[in-house]
């Protein structure tokens, strides 16, 4: 009964906000289509809480050994990517905020012609194709030490880069690419670097054209990476003063506290209205929540899914709630080559029965209070926009149905014992037998290893354990800290499944984040480095290849639906990100699922209309 009331309270708040917006004062259009009411106030400071945040690298191309997601938060507003992903709340490329004015694919999608907008760096120097070649040259010589490098993709997929004029770049690729994939997932990872300011090998050296030789490019990259890790000089180093995003770095200290101030020379469409944005670090969710509840200094903060029940109290403290769907897929990975239960999990009907018994709507409503993607398949319905197939939108191939699960098991020779442990009655490989490698009287019992430390996770796994029992599938729960779990649960395959790292049976460590194009590469293709359960299918491989290299825009749905049905992973709901923000702060919603840092350039304070 409590959850519906909370939802009702939130709905009422949103409805009230809409009503107020419709009735009072002057309206202002911000960002990409959001209209907010109230008198706009220029200037002001917004303080944002970040839990556990401690950015440690400012150069926008971190080394391969650095895995600090908060670095993107620090740098994205300073050096946005060539292709800007996320258009207001839409999961789409934002052409207005992107650096290109046109992006054309030709010659069987092996040539990309990029025309840059006549924008300028913060020091007034124009952004040109030379900046692109500088970026390309550095990455080409150093791709192995770039955190975002994926084997076979940029820059190693480029045969040649030519620059017919100061604003045009032509990429000659080594093969055809699906334009959607290349734009949304590859070019969207590439911020440009200011050649006129960064092409140097020492702090006191002069800027040159060092990037044009491999040795020079290595020296420049090494210099920039070294400077990029020197936290003591982030806010004073002249290198980092040259930006092309809407913001410049104001202050920074090593505790993770930093501020942005407007880039007065920003050429893009949304010039900052605020005077300053401050990121303040918190050690834990508890500390952040205490500060929010005391109604003090924070203007915007993430709301952990464990604290959803605090929403009404926070609203009483003057906050509104914003929901940001998470672009990612939440899953349970079945280990198809576990020595004990691999034969069981290799059977599609077993995976189907498992999926039918996950009551995803109930998990969304009871565990996540409604703030979650339904998890109908490999692509998030709420966060991936046009990539979501009709099948997924309709609820996916395996909606909750204990009766179908029981029928499936019975049809394959199982003696189903609801709330007990089902056992294999007909061992064998015939169509109505249990399947290869499954012995007579073998129990349908699996251990689910999951991440500890989050109440919502505990509740989700307990719910799954409970609903799976309806068909006599016994789930034994075992939890471990996230880092322990990911370091001990290895990638297993038919060829390699050592007991030391492949002893796990079912694994739930959270979710896999997606770029704008929610590609299945690395997760579901044979030998993919993130294909932990060892799923392998020629058909799947072909379909994934079509999404990356084929010309058809419909290939994605074919891949998506096939994957949804084949269940290389069991699909789960994915909680959305929740934020609370001061009610007099406008422009926060709709949240861009891909911006990482939110988009404070479109925010402003309001005061009541007179």
């Amino acid at each position: 009964m409590r959850t519906p009331r909370r939802l009702a309270a939130l709905a009422a708040t949103l409805a009230l906000a809409t009503l107020v917006a419709a009735c009072g004062g002057s309206s202002v259009k911000v960002g990409s289509g959001t209209t907010v009411k109230g008198q706009k106030v220029n200037g002001g400071t917004v303080t944002i809480a970040e839990v556990g945040a401690s950015p440690n690298f400012i150069f926008p191309y971190p080394p391969a050994t650095n895995e600090n997601g908060y670095n993107v938060n620090l740098t994205m507003g300073l050096w946005p990517s060539l292709v800007y992903v996320g258009d207001g709340g839409k999961s789409a490329v934002n052409p207005q905020a992107s650096l290109y004015s046109s992006l054309k694919y030709s010659d069987n999608d092996t040539v990309v012609t990029i025309v840059l907008k006549p924008w300028k760096w913060s020091d007034g120097v124009p952004i040109t194709s030379r900046d692109f070649t500088f970026t390309y040259n550095l990455l080409k010589a150093n791709y192995a030490n770039w955190i975002d490098y994926t084997q076979g993709l940029f820059p190693t997929d480029v045969k040649n880069v030519s620059t017919p004029n100061a604003h045009t770049v032509v990429l000659d690729l080594t093969r055809s690419y699906n334009p959607s994939f290349y734009t949304d997932d590859v070019l969207a990872e590439i911020p440009l670097m200011p050649q006129h300011a960064w092409d140097k090998t020492s702090a006191t050296g002069k800027v040159g054209n060092y990037d044009q030789t491999t040795a020079g490019a290595k020296a420049v990259y090494a210099f920039l990476q070294k400077q990029g890790g020197d936290m003591a000089t982030f806010d004073t180093n002249p290198l980092w003063k040259v930006v092309d995003g809407p913001w410049k770095l104001g202050t920074f200290n090593s505790s993770g506290y930093y501020s942005w101030v407007p880039n007065k020379n920003y050429s893009g469409p949304d010039k900052p209205i605020l005077d300053k944005v401050v990121w303040t670090p918190f050690t834990t969710d508890t500390a952040e929540m205490d500060t929010l509840r005391s109604g003090t200094t924070l203007d915007l903060a993430g709301l952990p899914s464990n604290d959803v029940r605090q929403i009404s109290a926070l609203e009483a403290e003057g906050y509104s709630v914003a929901v940001e769907p998470t672009p990612g897929v939440a899953e349970i990975v079945p280990n198809l080559y576990n020595s004990a239960v691999g034969p069981l999990l290799q059977q599609l009907y077993v995976r189907q029965a498992l999926e039918y018994l996950i009551n995803r709507p109930q998990i969304v409503s009871k565990v996540y209070a409604g703030y979650a993607d339904p998890g109908n398949g490999p692509v998030p319905v709420l966060a991936s926009g046009s990539y979501v197939s009709p099948l997924e939108k309709a609820g996916g191939p395996y909606p909750y149905s204990p009766s179908k699960a029981i029928s499936l098991l019975k049809a394959h020779g199982w003696k189903v014992a609801p709330n007990g442990v089902s056992t294999c009655e007909r061992a064998g490989t015939g169509p109505s037998d249990c399947g290869a490698g499954i012995k007579a009287n073998e129990p349908l019992q699996l251990t689910l290893l999951f991440t500890s430390g989050m109440a919502s996770f505990d509740q989700q796994e307990a719910a799954i354990q409970s609903t799976e029992a309806a068909a006599g599938i016994k789930i034994v729960l075992k939890s471990e800290p996230f880092n322990t779990l990911i370091s001990t649960a290895g990638v297993c395959s038919k060829q390699s499944h050592p007991a030391s790292t492949c002893g796990w049976q079912l694994l739930d460590y959270g979710y896999e984040p997606y770029s704008l194009d929610p590609s299945g590469a690395s997760m579901f293709n044979t030998g993919g480095y993130n294909n932990q359960g060892g799923y392998s299918s020629t058909e799947e491989n072909n379909l994934i290849n079509q999404t990356e290299y084929g010309p058809s825009s419909s290939a994605f749905y074919t891949y998506e639906d096939y994957t949804a049905k084949q269940l290389p992973w069991l699909w789960l709901p994915q909680p959305s990100n929740l934020f609370v923000y001061k009610k007099n702060l406008a422009g926060v919603t709709p949240l861009n699922p891909f911006s990482g840092t939110l988009n404070p350039e479109v925010w402003y304070y309001t005061k009541p209309s007179s």
Partner: protein
């Protein structure tokens, strides 16, 4: 005394070396891939290889240990895998803040606990002794985090007397002191447990001292009761407290995990905890080494303090 100190220092060095070796071996026996723990699930094999190569994790264990010892001898504690910063910098940033927080809380606990213990001793077996002891034990048995959350709920959320958390961005001790109001609650919470133990140690020792012959003689000679307490009983009652104080030095280095978590105080405790979760061996080794040094230093200081407070103790003999 000098010989005694030299011997104790020698023992301390041996203990620290033992701790270092043991910690190194135990940490590296931890199952799982460090690279995957740090880089996450999307780490490609190429990135894992670069990581292992960068930090020498692909070398045999004995070679890794030799490299670590060589670094140590040059004053280098290594670089954090997770935070990508020198361990010495990370510790140097946090240690002074923790020292201030735990130093203040210990001082407050002493100021309250020792006089309270002596007061209880003077009135022992009376109602007031039972009431005070009951109060201390109640507070002592309540978990830190519960006391912290209760105080926050009452004084920050309800009445807005104090701010609940340390403002982000304060890195120096000076900055911490500038925002002294934010220190009040963490200091109070951290001192609660110490007050209970200090007062009970002081109480039991003071009861023994009050029954001692020299106190009776002093009283028989007409020394005023207050003077007996302050000049004779107090000094001797401090001996067990000194032991506790010496042993509390490592906790200053180890930080106060709960207080740091609840009050947004980025100290050694949080650093240690996060490093343990993420297999950040250099930080764990560095912190363990510092804690080991602090432990033996604390005990050494306690031994020296005994000699100062009690002339009967002859360290050199």
């Amino acid at each position: 005394m000098t010989w005694y100190l030299l011997r104790r220092v020698g023992q301390a060095v041996a203990v620290v070396i033992g701790v270092m070796i043991l910690t190194f071996i135990l940490l590296h026996m931890e199952p799982g891939s460090v690279a995957r723990a740090v880089l996450g699930l999307r780490a490609t094999p190429a990135r894992v290889a670069i990581f292992d190569d960068t930090y020498g994790l692909n070398k045999p264990l004995y070679q890794q240990f030799v490299i670590y010892v060589k670094q140590l001898l040059h004053g280098n504690l290594g670089v954090s895998y997770q935070l990508q910063q020198p361990v010495s910098t990370l510790i140097a940033e946090r240690l002074p803040r923790d020292a201030l927080l735990l130093g203040l809380s210990t001082l407050l606990a002493l100021i309250i606990g020792v006089p309270a213990g002596i007061y209880q001793a003077v009135h022992h077996n009376q109602l007031v002794d039972d009431v005070v002891a009951g109060t201390w034990f109640t507070l002592y048995s309540a978990p830190d985090f519960m006391e912290a959350l209760l105080l926050i709920a009452l004084l920050c959320v309800q009445f807005h007397v104090f701010q609940p958390n340390f403002p982000g961005g304060i890195t120096s001790v000076g900055g911490v002191l500038t925002d002294w109001r934010a220190l009040v609650l963490p200091v109070v919470v951290l001192s609660i447990n110490s007050v209970a133990s200090f007062s009970q140690y002081a109480r039991s020792t003071a009861i023994q001292e009050l029954a001692a012959d020299y106190v009776r003689v002093a009283r028989a000679k007409g020394v005023p009761p207050r003077q007996v307490l302050t000049r004779h009983v107090l000094r001797n009652s401090l001996l067990p407290v000194i032991t506790i104080l010496g042993m509390s030095l490592p906790s200053i280095v180890a930080g106060a995990v709960i207080a740091e978590a609840v009050f947004n105080f980025p100290g050694m405790g949080q650093l240690f905890w996060q490093s343990a979760l993420s297999h950040d061996f250099p930080v764990l080794l560095g912190a363990t080494l510092i804690i080991g040094v602090a432990t033996v230093t604390g005990n050494l200081l306690a031994d020296i303090a005994y000699g100062v407070l009690d002339p009967r103790i002859r360290h050199g003999s």
